[in-house]
Amino acid sequence: MSTLFLIQLLNGLQLGVLLFLLAAGLTLVFGIMDFVNLAHGSLYMLGAFVCASLTFFTGSFVWGVVFAIPIIAIIGYLFEVLIVRHLYESNHLDHVLATFGIILIADTLVQLSWGPEGIAIPLPDYLSGQVEILPDIIFPTFRLLIISSGLLIAAGLYWLITYTRLGMLIRAGASNRTMVSALGIDISTLFAGVFALGAVLAGVAGMLIAPITEATIGMGNDIIITAFVVIIVGGIGSMKGAFIAAILIGIIDTLGRSFLKDILEIFNESASAETAGPALSSMLIYIIMAIVLALRPQGLFPPKVR
């Protein structure tokens, strides 16, 4: 039990880290540009597919990731310049509809280019093994890599936002966009850059998960909704909130899926636990979000100035 619990805890941490990579981009774009980007999940999917192709082209997953990152950055930049930029002035409803259109386009384009089947990405031998992290606890190396690289990226983002000039501009932009542009900052370049950064983070999340789940069409559409749950629970625009909420949601979701049925059976030995368990565990994160919004409509860690 405790071994399984620890392993599921690590799996939850891994999901949380991936959710953070997605939520970080979402919350940056939302906090600074006030833009609702449903199509963020499409960048996650594109990351996985581009990385798959490059892995086969270069023959190595690592080179695949290295070359895929700039490509996703360029896609994100073009996306901002061609479509998103023209929507900042419109309302959230228009954002939702336009990015919904982008999801349809991206899914179809991926189907046209890569076909309807999912693509499995082969891992090099040194990544596909398992390690014994504690006595009796064996965990796949690659999942450990996901967790550690995710945490590393989180630390990097923290450094970027807290200690660099770019981060200062991002924070300033989030609290008062007009003032930043009045001080002579080229706001449209800043926005495009932030958008590309968010795209890269989402793309990397896709690249990291693809060797485990395969790159499939529509893979972003489910996780993006969870990522939205994360940024709303954490407080829109807050990087700290996104991180804490992502880890929390990742762990709760994973643990709920593996243990909720057993817990229900303790209280209720009838067959209803059999069906209620999976239903309740799928709904768990939405229930959490509804509770958070009902009690604290601005999220757990709202940014200070708005």
Binding site: F30, V36, I83, H86, L87, E89, S90, N91, H92, L93, D94, V96, L97, A98, F100, G101, I102, I103, L104, I105, D107, T108, L109, Q111, L112, N221, I225, F228, V229, I232, I236, T275, A276, P278, A279, S282, M283, Y286, I287, M289, A290, L293, A294, P297
Partner: protein, 331 residues
Amino acid sequence: MSAQKKAANLDEYLKAPSLFGFGIGRIMTIVLMVLLFILPLIAWYMGNKFYLDFSSRIVCLAIAAVSLNLILGFGGMVSFGHAAFVGIGAYAVGIPSHHGYESAWLHFPLAMIAAAFFALVTGAISLRTKGVYFIMITMAFAQMAYYFFLSLEEYGGDDGMTLWSRSDFGFLNITDKLTFFLLSYALLALCIYLVFRIVNSRFGMVVRGCNSNEARMKSLGYNTYAYRLTAYVISGAMCGLAGALMANLQDFITADTMTWTRSGELMFMVILGGAGSVFGPIFGTGVFLLFEEILSAYTIYWHLPFGVLLILSVLFIKGGVNGLIQRAWKT
């Protein structure tokens, strides 16, 4: 921004939305409603059952779009979870049928009551939030409903359930495709008339007032929360009705009708037609389904032009198809 725009043409805004619109809009809506009635009849007369069913689909979904328009277009509440009400309405037909209760007089009221109840509970929580939080929390509730019905193994789970016989109205036999169409059309007309009466009533004026300036409505002494919640519940009940019809039309009920992409499609129908005009959603639903039908006949990649259309319509068409016609007439 939009509030300022509205203030600029305050006269036009305060003018009660006429049932059939003004000028060209009036002619167009009458033509549309007549066409939507005549064409399926011609198709039926020619023995083409497909177009009769297709028209029934437009009519049923139009009811859902009209109900969404009541809160989205007039009330400014962007519900991203309206598909949940369609699904609840559908299961309110399927579940009693499964247990042998086939009376439509049970199914339809149950669909509306169940959807209204879901709207009351979720609305009471959702309406405490604003803006994008509202969009997301309505979506979250719809996802909950989706996973709930997905897990009901007895009622098909993720395979969906087949409706072996349609709801029994007694004197009306809706297994007949023509009768079904006429019933749906009559219900659509009723819903539109209802929405028209609601938005022009004192109640509707308050709900519309909350959309343009909630603080002002509050300071005028209105309990805006209660008004919005009531509108939300009415909209949910109406959408439940649409769901009950959809279940009967397709003879099949699946939780997939409740996914968030379906809610997005419903929203798009309303926006495409022109949110905040009484007949707009019917234009929208018609154009949406026609496009889907025509494009999917040509290519399996029809989502591509469809997405492009979606983006272009958001970027360039303000006020939807309805507004486009109105402006073309004015210039």
